[in-house]
């Protein structure tokens, strides 16, 4: 676990991208009647960066994206691309490419016509349109389908065409609004790898909206986790997963055990959970002895049996043992709290039985003290 200075540095890296800012979202707010959909969103994205907006339905991620695209007008705040304020520009004057969840291909046009639409609107010469369309078809590996209509394509092919169409106009920023949500699981994985590969090849600044944590973790340079219209945390996938700053981030990203207890020694990071002592590597900031607090533990960091060293040990009763294929998940109850732990499947593994008393161990560094969500 990092020390305070390290944590501070991490927060800065997460909050502000290193290098020159290309896309800047400055204190963006959006209200629909009296309801705030987006509040005080602040984000700086560098050129060529892939940033995901991650959160549950209604958290404001799509509204934020739509404000960048120009489909929604912010109630306040500013959006700048390469230093130019585009907050009040209409969508057709932003040079921002957009890929929609529902593909949004024009049904009356062929694949080639769809891809060339933006160039035709921009009145580019026919030869240039043809060349660019062919480039894009090669990029998405669908040159043979250029004369097909959208209804003759599979969902995955349609979304690749939609991506090519958005990229054909050489936008400054590429926006993707849950582009894989309508596809089946297998296509989703292959297409997300393709999207990332194309994005890296072109070096285009990309904002990707998703509610799928796995997608965000596997694709992004940085993730912005949103909840109730606010940014909960900004950081690399590693930071977001391993060092969640709020209980929302901790519970939304990955599977998590939350243990509720009372602070025993704030400076020493000691907490009492169901009468057993748990020690966090970091001190518990802004708390006093006796305060209620929550700590989080990833299931994969907890092991059963006594572990060597000065880690934490807790004793409980096995409540359930679930065989999940490559992983076995064991649920252990203390008194009010329970934790799940994951262990890799091994034919020689002696699995505990339900009702058995079991000691579980976890390192001090794995204990994440959770903050309440920030109010600003």
């Amino acid at each position: 676990m990092q020390d305070d200075a390290g944590g501070q540095q991490m927060a800065e890296i997460g909050g502000l991208a290193p290098g020159k800012t290309f896309l800047e979202i400055d204190n963006l707010q959006k209200k629909f009647a009296q309801t705030a959909a987006v509040e005080h969103v602040q984000l700086k994205v560098t050129r060529g960066e892939f940033v995901s907006l991650l959160g549950p339905s209604g958290c404001g991620k799509t509204t934020t994206l739509r404000m960048i695209a120009g489909f929604e007008t912010p109630s306040s705040g500013a959006i700048r691309i390469d230093g130019v304020d585009i907050t009040h520009r209409p969508p057709n004057q932003r040079n921002v490419g957009m890929v929609f969840q529902a593909y949004a291909l024009f049904p009356n046009m062929t694949v080639a016509e769809n891809i060339g639409f933006g160039l035709k609107v921009a009145k580019k010469p026919a030869a240039e349109i043809k060349r660019r369309v062919e480039e894009m078809l090669d990029l998405i590996k669908l040159p043979a389908l250029k004369n097909r209509y959208p209804y003759q394509l599979s969902g995955g092919q349609q979304q690749r065409v939609a991506l090519a169409r958005a990229l054909a106009i050489q936008p400054q920023v590429l926006l993707l609004d849950e582009p894989l949500s309508a596809l089946d699981a297998k296509i989703r994985v292959s297409l997300r790898n393709e999207i990332r590969s194309i994005q890296r090849t072109l070096g285009i600044t990309t904002i990707y909206v998703t509610h799928d944590q796995e997608e965000a973790l596997s694709l992004s340079d940085r993730i912005v986790v949103m909840n109730n219209g606010r940014v909960e945390q900004i950081g690399t996938p590693f930071e977001i997963y391993n060092f969640p700053r709020t209980s929302f981030v901790a519970s939304f990203v990955g599977t998590l055990n939350i243990l509720r207890g009372q602070v025993a020694d704030p400076a020493g990071g000691k907490i009492v959970v169901d009468g057993q002592e748990v020690i966090a590597a970091r001190g518990l900031e802004h708390t006093r002895a006796g305060d209620a607090c929550s700590v989080a533990l990833r299931p994969e960091i907890v092991s059963f049996g006594e572990a060597a060293g000065d880690g934490n040990h807790m004793q409980g009763t096995v409540e359930d043992v679930n065989f999940l294929g490559s992983v076995v998940r064991i649920r252990v109850r203390f008194t009010d709290n329970a934790i799940s732990l994951d262990t890799f499947n091994n034919p020689r593994l002696a699995l505990p039985q339900r009702g058995q008393t079991l000691t579980v161990s976890f390192p001090r560094e794995a204990v994440l003290a959770l903050e309440a969500p920030s109010s600003t």
Binding site: G70, P91, A104, L105, P107, F117, Y149, I169
Partner: protein, 263 residues
């Protein structure tokens, strides 16, 4: 099980008889112009009558003008309501239904009162402006059909996302409407156009009270003074209507890339 299958077929048969028997009767009667022998004499007389060609041409031109006016009025309106003001839909639907509730004769008397030659906007002052008034009257009369057809077509496509996609690719409103929306509701617009055509070709009240040489008053005139020719005219009218339907089907079948739901 069997009665369940026969039941619907009996209803279809009853409907077909109700529709076709009078038509066949009319056709058979139209062939009896010459005593004791079936002939197309009534058709020959009708087709030779210069008023037939003149009134049919007049009504066809007016129908085409009405269709253009209807499309220009309805497509952007229905599009905008779907895109930006869906809450207004019930109100607009109510307004477009008014011509079905208010009899044509009431409408035309209203027009005559407002647009007579001594009014501020004397549309009945000359033949051409009266034609214009008649065209607008027909547009109003066809509004319920045109609006519903276009609205149904627009509901079958994702108007909002298509608009946003086109917008993000740099297209302005006219481009979006003409190159993205209109081609995708072509079948719906054609349905509305066909219904408008059928209404205008047979319309009597407005054309008669505005004293214009349309096909409807000609049909009435023939019906009042001749025996066999009106039957021949009725059959010809059906043929024209069905030819229009055939053309519509032809266009619909050739429309590329139409969404299945848009048909």
């Amino acid at each position: 099980m069997k009665p369940n299958r026969i039941g619907p077929w009996l209803i279809v048969l009853a409907g077909a008889l109700y529709f076709f028997v009078p038509l066949l009767g009319t056709f058979e009667f139209s062939l009896r112009y010459l005593r004791g022998v079936y002939s197309f004499e009534a058709y020959r007389i009708v087709l030779a009558d210069p008023r037939f060609g003149a009134t049919l041409t007049y009504s066809t031109v007016l129908a085409v003008a009405t269709i253009i006016a209807g499309v220009v009025l309805v497509v952007p309106t229905a599009y905008w309501i779907q895109l930006r003001t869906p809450k207004l839909r019930p109100l607009v639907e109510f307004i477009t239904l008014m011509p079905l509730v208010i009899p044509a004769i009431v409408l035309v008397f209203g027009y005559l009162r407002i647009y007579n030659s001594s009014s501020v906007l004397p549309l009945t002052g000359t033949d051409r402006t009266t034609d214009l008034l008649l065209m607008f009257s027909y547009t109003t009369l066809a509004l319920p059909y045109m609006y519903r057809a276009v609205d149904t077509g627009l509901r079958a496509i994702d108007v909002r996302t298509l608009t946003e996609a086109a917008h993000s690719l740099g297209a302005g409103w006219p481009t979006i409407l003409l190159r993205v929306i209109l081609p995708n509701v072509r079948v719906a617009v054609l349905s509305g156009a066909f219904l408008t055509f059928a209404i205008v070709i047979g319309e009597f009240t407005m054309a008669s009270l505005l004293d214009r040489p349309a096909f409807g008053p000609y049909l009435q005139l023939m019906g009042a003074n001749r025996a066999y020719e009106p039957s021949a005219l009725a059959v010809i009218s059906f043929a024209i209507t069905w030819a229009c339907m055939g053309l519509l089907q032809l266009f619909a079948g050739r429309t590329p890339g139409q969404l299945p739901g848009a048909h």
